[in-house]
Point group: C2
Chain length 193, copies 2
């Protein structure tokens, strides 16, 4: 059974960077944006649409898609994507040890890999600082962007996984990257592998 | 400003043991049962009553006490205890670096000490194993005991702190002691001090 580190993260907490650094340190692959390409191949949906629909990220995206499902329409687009996403993640985990960032991998791989599940968070203040630095300015205020992203991730998670995003009991370890620092988070996670 | 490590924990997760070992390793005091004695001196309530009423532990305890409060009665016993408990914890933190187990110290000391806030949890299965080993058998099943204790701690926490017990964002670090192991938890916490 592969050993897989899954990283769930609040927007702006540096979780993606931590995932990449942990993978580098351990010499194993890290899947993040690459997942989108693979899900696209599997599902036939285009990448841009998927980027908006694999974590509840978009404005008119998955929430809308979820709720137009009915007995007349059968499965929603979102359900097809979820299925393709689950298959892609399971295939990757079956291939060998890796780090997977986001996309409910912790839930999808439960019982199917030797998991180290991580949740990365930080105060709003620290995340706003990081968002502005990493992603630059946009029309929306950073506060609005992070609250919106987190609200969607949380709702998406609850809809598909029946677990609660950000509740300690669902993770092996949760770290405040703002307090602890990115590099120290990397060291702790790598030491647990 | 003192550096204080606060340990919140699920019943049976080994959080108390972890707190003691961290303190030993760092050569600083750990306050747990000692707190009860000090709160007793401060409040005039007896120790046995306090053991049941400083974390929402007892059957007929704090919940009952909280709800009999009214404008005719003024403060409830529970409120007096909370006040004494807050003072004792602040006094201890002012004296120097230490580890404090439970009793909402993370909330009570916010802004009053340089805090490292820890939450320790474990699966029900692992906790039942530990409860039976450490506390022995009792009339209630271990499942009932841990659900009951956790329910009370959670409600108590919410009533007095306005934060949510066990939600990752309120802690610097959360650890699954069942997965990670007691000694490794101790090493990680001590390394962050």
């Amino acid at each position: 059974m592969s050993r897989v580190i899954t990283i769930s993260r609040e927007f702006g907490s540096g979780g993606r960077t931590i995932g990449k650094k942990v993978a580098e340190k351990l010499g194993i692959p890290c899947y993040d944006a690459e997942l989108i390409t693979k899900i696209a191949e599997k599902s036939g949906f285009d990448k841009e649409y998927l980027a908006d629909n694999t974590e509840g990220e978009s404005g008119g995206g998955w929430l809308g898609n979820v709720f137009i499902r009915s007995e007349y329409y059968g499965k929603s687009n979102q359900d097809y994507i979820w299925q393709a996403q689950s298959e892609v993640i399971r295939d990757l985990a079956a291939k060998g040890d890796c780090v997977i960032v986001g996309r409910c991998a912790d839930y999808i791989l439960k019982g199917k890999a030797d998991l180290l599940t991580v949740f990365i968070h930080a105060s709003e203040e620290k995340r706003i600082e990081r968002i502005t630095k990493v992603y630059g300015l946009s029309a929306d205020s950073p506060e609005k962007r992070l609250r919106d992203k987190d609200k969607r991730r949380k709702a998406y998670h609850r809809f598909y996984t029946e677990t609660e995003w950000g509740r300690a009991k669902y993770y092996t370890i949760c770290l405040d990257s703002g307090e602890i620092g990115i590099d120290r988070c990397v060291d702790i996670i790598a030491s647990l592998y």
